[in-house]
Amino acid sequence: MQLPSEGLGPWGVAVALVGGAMRGSIPYMFVSLGECLTEKSGKINLGMEGVLLMGAMTAFAVSDLTGSPWLGVLAAAAAGLVLGAIHAWLTQQPAVNDVAAGIAMILFGSGLAFFFGKRFVAPMAPQLPLLQLGGWSHVPAVESALRISPLFFIGIVVSFLLHWLFTRTRWGLNIRAAGDDPQAARALGINVNAVRFLAITLGGALAAVGGAHLTLYFPGIWSEGISGGQGLMAVALVIFARWSPRRCLAAALLFGGAQALGPSLQSLGVNGYYHLFNASPYLLTMAVMIATCSPNRRLAGMPGALGKK
């Protein structure tokens, strides 16, 4: 048992925001990166909430059964791959609306996760090892805030990788072409269906890894309320981030931090109106979107085929 600190006062809010940004951001990060990949190819996957839950449950169950949290992460990715593939195949059929398919996938994914999750009531599964970056500080709160999940760094790497993929590689070009103008892409000889299938499937796998973070680090349990709508919000984040993987990263950090704002203000003694404080991230997103969007020009980075048949 370490010696407790004397309390950080207002600095506590800053520490909570930084710490919150680094642990709370991870689900947003992975889901929004997965969604970014999906949407770049011209389709929306609103079912990420279901994917997130399925990833969370699978990671917990596999970590519990095998004793290896990393196997849990891999299994989550595999579960996401399967759900992603179903969505990819379904939404490529003529006359299937991707928003509707997404909502059906939320039900399907969460139903499966809850169903199989019943058998894994073990209170704790082996958790992911953490990187201790706060050894220099003698303040336990700072030390704790800087105890960082490896998934955080993997998320950062993935976001830069995706950026590189989209801007520098032929594959990325194909994805963007499929997302911007499928007709033209087909004329160029790109197999639009295959490209989209891959993008959506891999997007699902990425998002599910975000779920693994929920059950294998923060908060580190399996509960049916574990996602709390983060999968849906992350879909909004992609548009907030204008379909740029690096901006997804920034937006996820912002949201992770904002999530810690309400509780940390209260623990400092700012009581009352906590419902509104807790809703501040949504209000902020709304305000930014209204301020920055314009009907006359398409949003920079927006895939042209998005939301169209």
Binding site: Q2, P4, M124, Q266, H275
Partner: protein, 367 residues
């Protein structure tokens, strides 16, 4: 034999206690969340499981029944499809208007609702209220927190500022301050019953403020206890035994023992008693003494000395010499809420309307 006599003859066996027929007594339970939440719903599901000891009881249940028309329909289904003659509605919001409506339609079925106040003007006669007063257990849990803390700062993560939650915050704080007068409790409200991520954030930011014992009142405070463990501080549970969430830092916790209530009601119904005619009490409440609730097993870091102090306090509560709401008690805005020389017994109805936080709590009782 006239037709009326025939009908009366046919109806007569139905009036006899269930024991005289071979029909099992079918008892239905509805919970508003999953049965494996390691919290409130699981405490009821476990209570239901104790009925297995009676071969003459058939207990059925439905989990995740929201506080909407779904609750009404589930109760009706249990009555019409499974012939349930006793229904337990376990979530507070199941009462008004759902249990009331179904009870009015089915006067021969007995309904028992967990928590709330019976109102003769509004509620049909076949509804009984049962509830446990867990304040004394929270008091003991708070005492142990007060004995264990080094900073004198305790943290409480709560869902909503409702009387039941305020009672727990207050009794926990009173317990802590009874052994450690400098102790204070900081409250963070999350806004809803099941928000694991926000509960973890709240717990974490409380620890950042120097708090070294965490507890809470949410659907399942397991996340709070677990976060405490990870941050290297002590944790006290609530609702269900959460010692498994914190193998090192778990102190104790206040947990429900609904089995006591369910067994007692089942036996009374079998003996032919009924809430409708008043032979089963309309308001069946119990305390630590009645074993409606109990203290969770101690964690490994609780010293022998602390254990014996808690045991002594528990004995005084059981023999009535220690009453926890004994005046003078002031709230955290400086008003006297229980004047000197007066004591509120924990079954006092005034406490069910609690809208204040006791001196020593940092938080606000109104949203």
């Amino acid at each position: 034999m006239t037709r009326r006599e025939l009908l009366a003859g046919l109806a007569a066996p139905a009036l006899l206690p269930a024991a005289s027929t071979n029909q099992p007594l079918t008892v239905g339970f509805i919970y508003n969340g999953p049965k494996n939440d390691l919290g409130y719903n699981q405490s009821h599901a476990e209570g239901k499981a104790t009925l297995r000891r009676f071969p003459w009881v058939k207990a059925i249940d439905e989990a995740s029944v929201p506080e909407t028309v779904a609750a009404e329909e589930s109760m009706r289904d249990m009555i019409f499809q499974d012939n349930a003659s006793v229904i337990f509605a376990t979530s507070f919001g199941h009462l008004d208007p759902f249990t009331i409506d179904v009870a009015r339609e089915n006067p021969s079925v007995q309904f028992f609702h967990c928590g709330g106040l019976y109102d003769e003007a509004k509620h049909p006669k076949n509804i009984g209220i049962y509830f446990g007063f867990i304040d004394e257990v929270e008091f003991l849990s708070g005492m142990l927190a007060g004995l264990s803390t080094r900073t004198g700062k305790l943290g409480f993560v709560a869902a909503k500022p409702i009387p039941q939650v305020l009672r727990n915050i207050n009794s926990f704080t009173l317990g802590a301050r009874s052994v450690n007068p400098r102790a204070t409790t900081k409250v963070v409200f999350t806004g809803d019953w099941v928000l694991p991520v926000r509960e973890a954030e709240a717990s974490s930011s409380l620890v950042d403020q120097g708090i070294d014992v965490l507890t809470g009142h949410t659907g399942s405070p397991r996340v709070i206890v677990q976060t405490a463990e990870r941050r290297g501080v002590f944790g006290c549970g609530y609702q269900f035994d959460q010692s498994s969430m914190a193998p090192h830092g778990f102190l104790t916790g206040a947990q429900w023992a609904w089995g006591t209530v369910y067994v007692r009601i089942a036996e009374m119904v079998r003996a032919g008693k009924s809430v409708t005619n008043g032979t089963i009490p309309r308001r069946l409440t119990g305390t630590l003494k009645d074993e409606f609730c109990k203290l969770s097993p101690y964690g490994p870091s609780v010293t022998e000395q602390s254990r014996s102090r808690i045991a002594a306090a528990k004995a005084s509560i059981l023999n009535g010499s220690l009453e926890i709401y004994r005046g003078p008690i002031r709230d955290n805005e400086g008003h006297t809420v229980v004047p000197a020389g007066r004591t509120l017994g924990i079954t006092d109805v005034a406490l069910d309307k609690m809208d204040w936080l006791v001196e020593g709590v940092d938080g606000r009782a109104h949203g």
